[in-house]
Amino acid sequence: MFIQPRILTIALCLAGALVVMPAAADDIFPHKVHQTTLDNGLKVVVVPYDSPGTVAYYVVVRTGSRDEVEPGHSGFAHFFEHMMFRGTERYSTNAYNDVIKKMGADTNAYTTDDRTVYHMVGPAAELEVMMDLESDRFINLDYNEEDFRREALAVLGEYNKNISNPFLPMYERMRELAFQKHTYSHTTMGFLADIKAMPDYYDYSLSFFDRFYRPENIVVLVVGDVEPEKAFGMAKNYYGGWEKGYQQPKIATEPPQTETKEAHIDWVAPIRPHIMAGYRVPAFSAATVDTATLDLISQLLFSESAPLYQKLVVDEQWMDYVSGSYSDHRDPYLFMIYGRIKSEDLVDDVQAAIGKAIADLQANPVDPEKLERIKSHLRYSFALSLDSPNAISGTVTNYLSLTGDPLTVNEVYAQYQKVTPADIQRIAKEVFKPTNYTVVTLSYAEPKEGEAEATAEGR
């Protein structure tokens, strides 16, 4: 019931060809998906759904903090998300806000490692207004250096609102340790020093827009009370004139990890000990069972019904919260485990219990009946989650970001069905080994006289 600590966040179609994919009997995704690609490479996906009078309008930019390859510019994808609300010649920020206000739309945006998403839910009758507004700012964004500098302060404000959450410094340290070459070494928020330097990078921001905000790198998704043909026609009208020009960044490959990495953070205020651990895992793929297997492993270890979770939270009550999961990423990332421990003396016990559960998974084939229960859970969980245009858009967006194809979702759920006890053992052995492991712990350390300031800066 009590809110738990949160971790921070945080196209192959032929040009002009229209593809309608009916929902096949064994596909998990129950709705028809209509898609087309304009001549300039912009993909448009439409999913009609029974939500009388309401549509969700999502613009998915396949650029996130992963694309921040230039040193000193971490956090820029997220910063740019802010800049997209700074207006155009036709619609100043105020004019844009007034139109949104008039139509009563719920609108915002978010950025992750792999994507930047602009979303809006509003009256279906206003779809054309949404297209007009959104295409205008993507094609004609126009802001001056003063606006840019001011917005950089709001980003710093966003960092400040998160800073009392101990998971933020832990998450930063974890990434810095686990990645040396790849851009996953920084969080989506970015390094604090880079955030502070943002106001001076106006010219860089223009180049960022020019290179990444291009039609070939973007998908427009409409879900809800919408006729696909009408939406395609509008898209062509509003987005058709947008020029190509996407420049794919060269993202460094992270070499394999060769040893365990560890760090500890002293926290200046009294707090329960926290732990965050990560194992290097392969990039998302629906082509094999491997990453699907990791999703099942996260259920086997950390779902509420998992013996490990039961031991840590329900029976021994060593932790009031623990979670562990594989999260879909375009490049090799981390199977992340994090939680909060009741007291300092239990930190080793917690780590040993997690280690033992993993060793069991590696040594003994999992009961096939257990796997069937997990597969059932995933199927029902998916069905229950699709309860609004917004929720459907959220799911589809994940796959648009990963592969550009909304129907990847069906392939993923087909892979879940194929996972065997032998797959679980194989992947557990490949992934959960000491040379793949990074761990960060955090606990209260009373500041020594004269050191308080230094410690505060340390986080």
Binding site: I100, N160, K161, I163, S164, P270, S303, D320, S388
Partner: protein
């Protein structure tokens, strides 16, 4: 059994002049709200018990919430909590529990293929809780961890949002957090929980809600099963005293190690959404600071023009977990409400100015009201925007249940109906009546509270230093804002370790 098909009621309310409240049930029956949607594969079930932290006995603050957890997150007489979770797992359903000031809501959603199995588990949890020692210690630990770690140490925003309620409702049953206090939690026994359950989990206290694609006869059967709860005393909701009137400007500084300053301003409001005045005030509030939008005055002025922080909003009723929600959450009804302004964390150097700027905007609204154009824009926004609040089946059901709790027609329809009839004069009259900057509580979550106290008392100008100056009209306004006399009447400093202690 008394039940009302609310789709029909909603249509009727649109036709009725002035609207009719959703009818209450006859005595001795379960009050049930249904929202059938045969095409939906999902069924939502919600049990709203009219029992919350206002019913916590003195010295046992947190008892209602712990009792809720012992029903919703604990074993039953037939299976342990682990076995219950195991049984729920393959259907991907859960039993959710939330205790607020006035109500405790147990809820869940299930796919229709699993409805029968789920219903057995849900009713078992509600009717036959085990009250085991092991579940008790775990749930108490959860509440303690929430108070001592989540609120005190890891989320300054939630800390400030809870603290402003505590000062506004000082001495009132709303004062303490539903999670209780550290000392009271330690004194709560399993026997207290059993007694609380016996007295409060009754048919008379229950409002049942069912929505979605449930089969014929399902609701009757569920009502029959829940009929084994004690009947309880039918009657009105527990009476609430009026909150104390705040006189002057009462500041509370929560002193803790933190790099930023969170600012909260507020005072009790004598109206809730069942009052006609609520609707004109809702329009004015939306103009001032609609939650998580970019078009409120506060947001535009503090963040948009001055880059002071991440967000700035205002409210005329309790908003559940605002850092994590975009739209209002249903099923946290409160008959007494409060006006509040939330200035998200700012850097310490700008805190004094940010406080003044927020006060300036509230005062500007209070003295000048809205123009015809501003009124129309805010009204039109709310008429459409509010329709998005019931997008999901469980939310729609919950809004219907809330409307019955308040004794009013369906809230979302009521917004549409009442706002469309409003005039700018009515909005400005409501502003005059309810919005002010003379008498209020303020909470600042800050480091170095002593220094903050000193500059608040000194009340000297707090000019802004911009790296990038805003436009001239903004700079011109700053000349006034930086000199605003805050004139605090009292400033108390509370070390964070004392928060939620007793």
């Amino acid at each position: 059994m008394s039940r009302t098909n609310l789709v029909t009621v909603a249509i009727l309310t649109l036709l009725a002049v002035g609207g009719v409240a959703i009818p209450a049930p006859a005595a001795g029956t379960i009050d049930t709200v249904t929202l059938p949607n045969p095409d939906s594969p999902i069924i939502a079930v919600r049990l709203l018990f009219k029992t919350g932290s206002i019913h916590d006995p003195e010295g046992k603050e947190g008892l209602a919430a712990i009792t809720g957890l012992m029903v919703g997150e604990a074993g039953t007489q037939k299976r342990s909590y682990s076995e219950l979770i195991d049984a729920l797992y393959p259907m991907a359903s859960s039993i959710e529990i939330e205790t607020d000031r006035e109500v405790t809501v147990i809820s869940g959603e299930v796919h229709r293929e699993k409805l029968a199995e789920y219903t057995v588990l849900l009713t078992e949890a509600v009717l036959e809780p085990a009250f085991s020692e092991s579940d008790f210690s775990r749930n108490k630990e959860q509440a303690l961890a929430y108070l001592t770690t989540t609120l005190r140490a890891t989320n300054d925003e939630l800390l400030g949002l809870e603290a402003i309620q505590q000062v506004i409702f000082d001495g009132h049953p709303y004062q303490h957090s539903p999670a209780g206090t550290v000392e009271a939690l330690k004194s709560i026994t399993l026997e207290d929980v059993k007694n609380f359950y016996r007295h409060h989990y009754t048919q008379a206290n229950l409002m049942l809600g069912v929505a979605g694609g449930y089969p014929q006869g399902y609701v009757e059967s569920l009502e029959k099963t829940l009929g084994s709860l004690p009947e309880g005393e039918p009657g009105e909701l527990a009476e609430l005293p009026e909150p104390a009137t705040v006189e002057g400007r009462q500041f509370t500084l929560i002193d803790k190690e933190t790099d930023s300053v969170g600012i909260h301003i507020g005072y009790a409001l004598p109206i809730n959404r069942s009052d006609p005045d609520y609707y004109p005030l809702m329009v004015a509030n939306s103009y001032l600071g609609e939650h998580r939008t970019f078009h409120g005055r506060l947001m535009q002025q503090l963040r948009g023009h001055r880059g002071l922080n991440y967000g700035d909003y205002s409210y005329i009723e309790y908003w559940h977990l605002p850092p994590f929600t975009m739209n209002p959450t249903p099923n946290v009804p409160r008959r007494q409400q409060y006006f509040s302004v939330w200035v998200r964390p700012v850097v310490p150097a700008t805190a004094h100015f940010a406080l003044r700027d927020a006060l300036f905007e509230v005062d500007r609204l209070a003295t000048r009201g809205l123009t015809q154009e501003e009124f129309e824009l805010a009204r039109d926004f709310l008429v459409n925007y509010s329709k998005l609040w019931g997008q999901t089946l469980p939310n729609r059901l919950a809004w219907y249940m809330d409307s019955r709790y308040y004794g009013m027609p369906y809230y979302i329809d009521e917004i549409d109906k009442r706002l469309k009839k409003l005039t700018v004069d009515e909005v400005n009259a409501a502003v005059k009546k309810y919005i002010r900057t003379d008498d209020y509580h303020a909470v600042l979550v800050t480091n170095n509270a002593g220094e903050v106290k000193a500059y608040l008392e000194g009340d000297q100008p707090s000019p802004m230093k911009y790296n990038t100056p805003p436009d001239k009209p903004v700079l011109d306004a700053d000349v006034t804002i930086q000199k605003i006399k805050v004139e605090p009447d009292t400033i108390s400093i509370v070390p964070v370790a004392e928060m939620f202690q007793k």
